[in-house]
C-alpha cells in the first residue's frame, strides 16, 4: 500500500508532467486563462490518465511485449514497435467513447466539460503516461497509481497557473511580454518551486 501511495505522490510532485517533464504544455498554456476551465481540464485529464494507463498496461503485457504471445505459439514475436500505434488508438477510442456516453446520458456535464474531451486525444501527457509505463516496467496496480498521480499533478499545476494568471489580469506588463511571454516566466518560477520536491522521494 505504501508503495502505491509513494508512486502516486512521486508521479504527482516529483515527475510533474507539465512543470518538470514539459508534457501537455500546449493545453496547459492555452486553457489556463480562467480557473473554471482549468478545473474542468484537470478533472478530464485525471479521469483519462487513470483509465488509459492501466488499460494500455494490460494490452502491452498481454499482447505487445516481447514473448507475450508465447501461449499462442509465437514465443519469438516482438510486437513492441506497434505499442505507439495501439496506445494512441486506445486513447482516441476512449476519448471518443466517453464523449458520446456523456453527451447521451449527462448532457449538463457535457456542456461543462465536453469541449475539453477531443483535446485529450492530442494531449502529450496522456500518451506519455503510457509510454513511461512501458519504459519503467510498471505492474498493473502501479500503473493505476502512476496514471492517477500524473493526472493529479497536471491538474494541480494547471489550476495553480490559472489562479495566478487571473491575478495578473490588471497588471501593467510591457506589451511584448503580455500573454504568452509572462506565462512562460510564471511557469518557469513554478517549475523552480516544484524542483524542490525532487528531494522528497530521494530517501
Amino acid at each position: 500500500m505504501s508503495d502505491f501511495f509513494g508512486l502516486f505522490l512521486s508521479a504527482m510532485f516529483v515527475d510533474n508532467m507539465p512543470l518538470t517533464l514539459f508534457l501537455g504544455l500546449c493545453t496547459f498554456l492555452a486553457l489556463s486563462r480562467r480557473p473554471g476551465t482549468a478545473v474542468g481540464l484537470g478533472i478530464a485529464v485525471i479521469a483519462a490518465m487513470g483509465f488509459t494507463v492501466p488499460l494500455n498496461q494490460l494490452i502491452y503485457t498481454s499482447v505487445l511485449a516481447p514473448g507475450a504471445l508465447a501461449w499462442a505459439g509465437f514465443p519469438d514475436l516482438d510486437l513492441s514497435y506497434l505499442s505507439l500505434l495501439s496506445f494512441i488508438g486506445v486513447i482516441a477510442a476512449t476519448v471518443q467513447l466517453t464523449e458520446m456516453v456523456i453527451d447521451r446520458f449527462f448532457p449538463r456535464i457535457y456542456a461543462a466539460f465536453g469541449v475539453f474531451l477531443p483535446l485529450l486525444t492530442v494531449h502529450c501527457a496522456i500518451l506519455a503516461g503510457s509510454l513511461f509505463m512501458v519504459e519503467r516496467n510498471l505492474t498493473f496496480t502501479q500503473s493505476i497509481a502512476f496514471g492517477l498521480g500524473s493526472g493529479a499533478g497536471f491538474a494541480i499545476a494547471v489550476i495553480t497557473l490559472s489562479a495566478i494568471r487571473v491575478r495578473l489580469a490588471y497588471a501593467d506588463l510591457p506589451s511584448g511580454l503580455r500573454g504568452l511571454g509572462i506565462t512562460f516566466l510564471l511557469t518557469g518560477l513554478m517549475s523552480l518551486g516544484f524542483s524542490a520536491f525532487a528531494q522528497m522521494v530521494a530517501q
Binding site: 512543470l19 518538470t20 508534457l23 498554456l29 500505434l85 477531443p118 511584448g176 503580455r178 512562460f184
Partner: protein
C-alpha cells in the same frame, strides 16, 4: 510559374512572422524537453520536420476521401505510423541520441504542431502547397529549437556539439557553467525571454489587453 511567389511566402512566413512556437503556441512540449544539448535538439527538429512534411503530403492527397467525423483518428494513425518509422531509423543508426531522447520521439505523434497544421492547412489545400507550408513550419520550429538548444548547452556546459567553446573553471579556464541552464526552469525562462524579444521587435504580434483598466479619477484633495 505564377504560383511560386505565393509558395515562397507560405514557406517563409512561419519562420519568424508566424512562427509556430512563439506565435501560434504549437508544439511547445518537445521544444523544451529536448533542448539541453544542441545535438538532441537538431535530431528532434529534423525528425519533426520530416514527419510534418510527409504527413501533410499524405493527408492532403487523401483529403477528399476522409469522412469528416473520423478524420482526427485517421490523421493520428497516419502520423503515428510515420513516427514509428522515424523512431526505428533513429534506434538503428543513432542509438545514443535515440536513448537520450527517450519517449520524446514517440511524442511527435501528439505534437500539437503536426495535427494543428494538418487540421488547418493540409486538409484544405493541394499536396504541394501543404508540403511547402509544413516545411516552413518545421523550419520555424527547428530555428527556435536550435537557438534554445545552443544557448542552453553553451551556458550550461561551456560546450557546443560536445566541443569546448568557453573554457570552464575546472578545466583551468574562466567560465563557470550555470547549472540551472540544464534544469527544467531555465527552458521556460529562455523561451519566455525569446517570446518577449520577438514580440518587442515585431510589435504587431503583441497580444491585446484582455481587461482594460477602468478609468478612475484621482481623488482630489
Amino acid at each position: 510559374m505564377a504560383a511560386s511567389p505565393r509558395l515562397w511566402t507560405t514557406l517563409t512566413e512561419p519562420l519568424i512572422r508566424q512562427n509556430p512556437i512563439t506565435l501560434q503556441i504549437l508544439g511547445i512540449c518537445s521544444a523544451l524537453a529536448v533542448t539541453t544539448a544542441l545535438d538532441t535538439a537538431l535530431t528532434m527538429a529534423a525528425s519533426l520536420t520530416v514527419v510534418l512534411v510527409l504527413s501533410a503530403g499524405i493527408i492532403s492527397m487523401i483529403r477528399k476521401m476522409i469522412p469528416g467525423t473520423i478524420r482526427l483518428i485517421v490523421q493520428i494513425t497516419i502520423v503515428a505510423s510515420l513516427v514509428i518509422v522515424i523512431d526505428q531509423i533513429l534506434q538503428a543508426y543513432f542509438f545514443d541520441i535515440s536513448r537520450r531522447l527517450s519517449v520524446f520521439v514517440s511524442l511527435i505523434t501528439t505534437n500539437c504542431l503536426v495535427l494543428g497544421r494538418t487540421e488547418s492547412f493540409a486538409r484544405n489545400n493541394p499536396p504541394l502547397a501543404s508540403m511547402v507550408d509544413a516545411l516552413g513550419n518545421g523550419l520555424g520550429y527547428s530555428l527556435i529549437l536550435v537557438v534554445i538548444g545552443a544557448l542552453r548547452e553553451v551556458l550550461g556546459r561551456g560546450k557546443l556539439f560536445g566541443f569546448e567553446v568557453l573554457p570552464t573553471v575546472d578545466q583551468g579556464g574562466w567560465f563557470t557553467p550555470f547549472n540551472l541552464m540544464l534544469l527544467a526552469p531555465s527552458a521556460f525562462f529562455m523561451l519566455g525571454g525569446l517570446v518577449w524579444a520577438v514580440r518587442s521587435a515585431l510589435p504587431e504580434q503583441a497580444e491585446p489587453i484582455e481587461h482594460t483598466p477602468p478609468e478612475v479619477e484621482e481623488p482630489s484633495r
